[in-house]
Assembly symmetry: C2
């Protein structure tokens, strides 16, 4: 039944090196006060035996806490997009609280740069040991990242990236690639000749860096390959008013009688689905984003062909986990964690419903 090779402890190391456990500990954490000679000796033995300190005992013995600062948009009001990442963050934090991880959330508004600056400054004032940041405002976020790099505070970037390399890990999804994927799905499901509508239902409050990338990915797919001879038509609709949306869509259909499919670049695809249902245009393929409570029923009723899922909860979870691995477990973390781009349709929906 056994399996564990009786684990080696610092006591074993100490004995083999002919020193005390205190000395071994000093070497391991290089906190000095050890002669070069014994340091080398201890180092050699720890490496030979591939000694790994017991994380449980470490966490228990070390009274000092690790402090995470979480700099993210608030989930209130401005769409529910940031709600799920936050849930993932909370889930991960709950799992690791025993390891002495403390945290504080600094929430800003995506529509107000000043709140970002203000919260970022607050976070830095508190001198955290690590930072998880959604860099909604590039320039300001870059400055924060640089400051952290100076102070040796590891930074995990969340959900959109900035140019410089002052972070240890980026967690996010590739919006361009997801657009490309949507293109593939649209192409695969279309018959020859006809129009494909690309609908961007914009809200001024929304982070449209994504939306743009998705659209570009979609377009790029057809630039490379358009064997079915499809015409792509862009339609941008500002505002949330249902009447206006329906009006625009109706106009598009009357101008283009052979629309084969519609790609909606965000989670508001359900509004288009309802339009299609109302107008009895059931043959039109519809592809959009996110497993929201509005979108799911549309998928089940076949009003939407595919939803592309960003696994928003997973993103938050992975971000916290990366920082935990770095700071507490001292493990290597990948420079980039890309969340899978899931294709969800009626037939596999139920396996993705856990959030």
């Amino acid at each position: 039944m056994e399996r564990s090779d009786k684990k080696i402890t610092i006591k074993d190391i100490a004995q083999l090196a002919g020193v005390s456990v205190g000395t071994v500990d000093r070497v391991i954490h290089n906190r000095g006060e050890v002669s070069e000679k014994t340091k080398q000796k201890v180092r050699k033995i720890t490496e030979m035996l591939n000694f790994q300190p017991d994380v449980l005992a470490s966490a228990l013995a070390s009274k000092k806490n690790v402090r995470f600062a979480i700099l993210m948009p608030s989930a209130n009001g401005e769409g529910t997009f940031w709600k799920y990442p936050m849930l993932g963050i909370d889930k991960a934090l709950l799992e690791i609280e025993h390891y002495g991880v403390l945290y504080k959330k600094y929430l800003f508004s995506v529509s107000d740069k000043n709140t970002f600056i203000e919260q970022a400054e607050k976070a830095m004032m508190d001198h955290p040991d690590g930072l998880i940041m959604a860099p909604s405002f590039k320039k300001e976020a870059t400055e924060i990242a640089e400051l952290c790099a100076q102070r040796k505070i590891p930074v995990v970037l969340f959900n959109s990236s900035i140019d410089n390399q002052d972070h240890i890990c980026y967690v996010g999804q590739d919006a361009f690639q997801s657009g490309l994927l949507a293109g593939k799905l649209m192409d695969y499901g279309s018959s020859e000749n006809g129009e494909i509508l690309i609908v961007s239902l914009m809200s001024l409050l929304q982070n449209n860096q994504y939306i743009l990338a998705r659209k570009q990915g979609f377009l790029h797919y057809f630039e490379n390959k358009n064997e079915r001879n499809l015409r792509l038509i862009s339609l941008e609709i500002d505002g949330l008013d249902v009447g206006a949306i329906y009006h625009e869509l109706r106009k598009a259909f009357s101008e283009n009688p052979t629309i084969k499919g519609i790609f909606v670049t965000n989670s508001r695809v359900f509004q288009v689905a309802r339009f299609l249902e109302a107008e009895k245009k059931t043959k039109v393929n519809l592809i959009g984003y996110d497993l929201t409570s509005e979108n799911k029923p549309c998928l089940e009723k076949n009003m939407i062909s595919f939803l592309i899922n960003q696994q928003p909860l997973e993103q938050g979870y992975r971000a916290v986990n990366a920082l935990f691995n770095k700071l507490v477990l001292k493990k290597e973390v990948p420079k980039e964690i890309l969340i899978p781009i899931d294709i969800v349709t009626k037939e596999n929906l139920k396996y993705y419903e856990e959030y």
Copy 2:
């Protein structure tokens, strides 16, 4: 920055109850030797303060190990199907080894019931604290599950289920549903009128309970909905000989000139892909299973339209995790963990490549 409400320890409880930590410990683990009166007193206080023993300190202090028995098919020889679940199991075991988890693997052959019985008996003889079992032989597995239930040994079922309820958790994927999904994808991508070929490349050694379920799911999709008027044709090919496979496929194509797509019920889809490439039939949609090293290049070259991914590594990981949560962390575990059925295509392949 703080967050943790200074955690309460058994020492606190002891003080409040006017007893010693030893007594508190006895109450918590109900190992008797405590008068009813003080037991109630301590219980009340622990509940009032919602005391949760520190898992780290528990694991550290407890010398007694938790023993997992893992009863699975061997990965050698009979196809590589069981290799990945085993990797997932190993990954999970590695993460939790600090918690004093010991384990032993009892490997049997899926083609020899006696090896299952033999290994199962061995496992039970060793009196494990928990069992992870792939119930390849239903009747025998049911008996084992019943025996474990008697002995209060929690059982996690792996990858195929049995009827009775003597297990705490089932981890697996729904093969029928994945066939249904394949049907949807095939339907979505096909033009009207023509044939769809269902190819089962059977090997006698393989567990074909799955393969059957996948096929049935696929057929079921079209029983409900066949607006494109597609004719489904089954083709079963025994043996691994490439020549024979090509011969059968060629015959099918000559008999059915308008084949629109091919569904291969297992991971050997790459063989069909190579056939199609050789015969220059690039317009045929091809859907199959599993991200194997042979299949991936075919996906990248667009020879395969979609692969359905069972996340075999994830299954093993989740099974171990469930048992760990139950036995060590004493957390609730869901009765059923269904692994998502991922749709993988050229455009999102890279996010699934981690195994």
